[in-house]
Amino acid sequence: MSEPLILGIETSCDETGIGIVRGTTLLADTVASSVDEHARFGGVVPEVASRAHLEAMVPTIERACQTAGITLDDVDAFAVTAGPGLAGALLVGVSAAKSLALALNKPLYGVNHLAAHVCVDQLEHGLLDQPSVAMLVSGGHSSLLLVPDITGEVQPLGQTIDDAAGEAFDKIARVLGLPFPGGPYIDLAARDGDPNAIDFPRGLTSPKDMEKHRFDVSFSGLKTAVARWVEREERSGNSIMVNDVAASFQEAVVDVLLRKAIDACLTNEVGTLVIGGGVAANSRLRAVAEERCAEHKIRLRIPSAKLCTDNGAMVAALGSELVRRGRDASRLDFGSDSSMQVTEVVA
């Protein structure tokens, strides 16, 4: 008997993602993004995102089915991001998924976006180790999680106390006159810069902070430090070495994130670290993570860059795992939840 065919829908932010998997085999990962419409605002505009999701929904489902070479009738179960995310955006995906489940009389899983970011790694690197530590870093989240069981037991260890990691990249990109979204542009500029040129602060790493915020991160202090440094140089009439600033800023972010992640693995005696979210596409983060995990004999798992960003494949991957483990589907009257807690894996 062939493994179950799962279609996943993701609409928590500005990407309309439809993913199709059979077991842990990825068949389609189709994404329609409204990022260009938001670029001129320097951030995602919720109403613009919701409008775009509605327009893109049916065409994106259609394209994904074509890519996978299946029809909707073939699907065994549907999965959709129930939260966390932008309320109006989530609602479009959840309504679409419920309609599919009703029209085709198939089970539906309303799933947690953060858990899906972790589970997507199963599509490339086999079943997750139990337990794992997961670090999710993107424009919307910076979370450190202890994951004994991705289908039911996820514990938050720490998170950002101000900006998300990706937001920090966006803000510094703006300071340096680089385009939105900032992550890829900072990464690119940093390649020709010296990461040790400027010693920017590492937030929440002092012994005092570590008592209260051992696994939390903070980027607002770093952001201010970079902005002040740039202002001061400009006032002194110096030209800004964009590459050096980008590299030094990036180094500070990467250093803090990985210090906390490795500490979480060692403290909890967990041998596997999974990194996900859009910032996991950052080349420096990937390189330093490899070095430090090797040093501490921790198994490092990072999905390929395309699966790190928001997409439907991650939702399908978690749906598929829930089916494989025989978990109950969601009731059709579940609501989308913009502040869904990571401890709630299925709605």
Binding site: V48, S99, D170
Partner: protein, 206 residues
Amino acid sequence: MKILAIDTAVGISVALHDGHSVIAEATRTEHGVQGELTTVMISELLVQAGWTAADLTDVVVGVGPGPYTGLRVGIVTATVFGHARGIPVHGICSLDAVGHDAGGECIVVTDARRKELYWARYDGGRIDGPHVMVPAELKALHPQMKFVGPAAQMYSDVINGEIVSLRAAALAELFAAGTAHLVDVSPMYLRIPDAVAGTVRKKVGP
């Protein structure tokens, strides 16, 4: 002919129609529960009628105007359902449902939030609108007209009309009779999105 009609421009209204008459219908007037309950209500109607999703031949959906977040639920439910079943989806201005039920010459009003009303003028069919306007301006424009609709007494000091609820069944009736004014299946927003440069960050969750 077996029609599924959906409207979420005001609350939630769903109906099944067999081409001759309404077989089953349900309407809830509260706003904000569309995401939870629209599909559940359709599912209950199908059971009530003894139909399955596979029996349906057409989907009719109210495309607003209405508060956007709720409105989109009905539209995406309809378009995805039609796509999944391979049946056509037809859009009708939501206010036409009220115009049909009220009959005669009238102005249909629904809540547009921000102290404004969505409105359209009817005489047999829709002859003006839909528009969005503050109540005083609308009253000044049509001082003698009869006002009907879910919001007909919302601003009763200015406009005091007759409450007529919005029934998806009326959309199905218009479609079955061949008298519906069909439009694109995309929301009648009537306003451009609020967006101020740089004030909304990409941020989700707590």
